[in-house]
């Protein structure tokens, strides 16, 4: 039986695999949740008696979110490269960028709600005004797509290394700056300017999602040698 072979088919294959793996390994998300909550707890303890300006509180939430994604990222491609799955994918002439995109989309779908919820909780703890919490959640949800895409690039570079986390972090930090900045602006927006900022952020994140898998494809081919 000849199976219809094209990019959509590859995407379906990759998606099915990612979904199966996540179903069995969803505990790995708990690392991220635990990290976020630890940092959040420390922040609330140390800043308990200070009145924090809304912007500072917002920035703290964003920094914590960035660090959480950076913590989770290096594991994304490591298993695939080291187990030889990328070899198989290449040997059958399938596009790696489809594989990368499926992985990034699934990771975003899985991480972004957590970030949004935990971020809002932390923001509320730090004393952000109520009407800023929804923009914060929206900003986190949209920007995390871009963050996941950029962190995926770093994850691909360090896929073969056992202690690649530091290298990946140094590499990706500058690349995540636009998302952090636009994200903070979105979360500080009032109801009038919010749609504009959110649209800008969403556009940038989607652009990153389109372009990063191509870079990841190059890197995975190199690293897989």
């Amino acid at each position: 039986m000849k199976i219809e072979e094209n990019a959509w088919h590859d995407f379906g294959l990759a998606w099915q695999r990612e979904w199966l793996i996540w179903r069995r390994q969803y505990q790995s998300q708990f690392n991220g949740i635990g990290f976020f909550m630890t940092v959040g707890l420390l922040l609330t303890l140390t800043l308990a008696n200070l009145t924090i300006l809304p912007m500072v509180g917002s920035c703290l939430v964003w920094m914590t979110s960035l660090l959480t994604v950076l913590l989770l990222a290096p594991a994304w491609f490591a298993q695939d490269v080291q187990s030889g799955y990328v070899d198989l994918w290449l040997s059958q002439g399938r596009s790696l960028w489809v594989f990368a995109m499926a992985k990034l989309i699934l990771q975003w779908l899985v991480i972004s709600p957590l970030l949004a919820i935990l971020g809002v909780m932390l923001g509320w703890q730090l004393g952000l005004p109520g009407q800023q919490l929804l923009p914060l959640a929206l900003g986190l949800w949209l920007a995390s797509l871009g963050l996941v895409a950029q962190c995926g690039f770093g994850a691909a570079i360090t896929a073969q290394q056992s202690q690649g986390a530091v290298l990946a972090t140094v590499l990706i930090m500058p690349l995540t700056v636009p998302f952090m900045l636009f994200g903070v602006s979105t979360s500080m927006a009032n109801s009038v300017s919010l749609p504009g900022y959110a649209a800008l952020l969403a556009g940038l994140s989607l652009l990153s999602l389109m372009l990063m898998p191509i870079a990841i494809q190059f890197v995975l081919k190199i690293v897989n040698h």
């Binding site: 294959l13 199966l20 069995r24 030889g84 070899d87 198989l88 290449l90 081919k221």
Partner: protein
């Protein structure tokens, strides 16, 4: 059928093997021989389309099935899930009926819902090789890198039989192996191919 035209495998900007001009005829099994570290695995990866650092050309009549050292198994997934994904990547049909047939043939039916990390090395290798027991695999050439390593004796014998029947169906098999393959090496379709290192003109 596989044709190599002045193929030079390159590693770290140095040629690894002497240039290869060869035609591999279908209906034969070729055993790539050579000392350790020669570059046999690299050559197989070039022919599979994974390793891109080469000059010259090679051409396959049909797209081959490649099974390398690392079979691409995901430790967290179960046996049947891994098998399903492996078959899917290689473009082979993976309905439940076919999966059951394969599991039965490889004696993995009782452990089909166990995560692969709980299986022995021999059983894991069997999952990796399960492609070759698929009905549609018989119509494609095979590239096998150390297929008999860590494989149980009984399955090894079965694999040798499969390779022989593959050759009888006018298909090509290329493999490397450090193990003695008694049944296979006695077959009529068995050939040896010993590539030379680059500095051994």
């Amino acid at each position: 059928m596989l044709t190599l035209c002045d193929l030079k495998v390159i590693r770290n900007e140095e040629p690894l093997l002497a240039p290869l001009n060869q035609t591999f005829e279908p209906g034969n099994c070729y055993h790539l021989r050579g000392p350790n570290g020669l570059g046999k695995t690299t050559l197989l990866r070039v022919l599979a389309g994974i390793y891109q650092d080469y000059s010259g050309q090679f051409e396959w009549r049909q797209s081959p099935l490649y099974i390398g050292h690392k079979p691409g198994l995901q430790p967290a997934l179960t046996v049947s899930e891994n098998m399903q994904l492996l078959l899917g990547v290689n473009g082979l049909e993976h309905s439940t009926a076919i999966l059951d047939t394969l599991l039965l043939a490889l004696e993995l039916l009782p452990s089909q819902h166990l995560p692969i990390s709980r299986l022995s090395a021999g059983q894991q290798r069997r999952v990796g090789m399960s492609l070759l027991w698929h009905p549609a695999a018989a119509s494609r050439p095979w590239l096998l890198d150390e297929p008999f390593a860590t494989l149980d004796t009984q399955i090894s014998v079965e694999l040798e039989q499969r390779i022989i029947s593959q050759c009888l169906q006018a298909q090509l098999v290329l493999l490397t192996s450090h193990q003695s393959m008694d049944t296979l090496s006695a077959a009529a379709c068995f050939n040896t191919f010993a590539p030379l290192a680059a500095d051994q003109r």
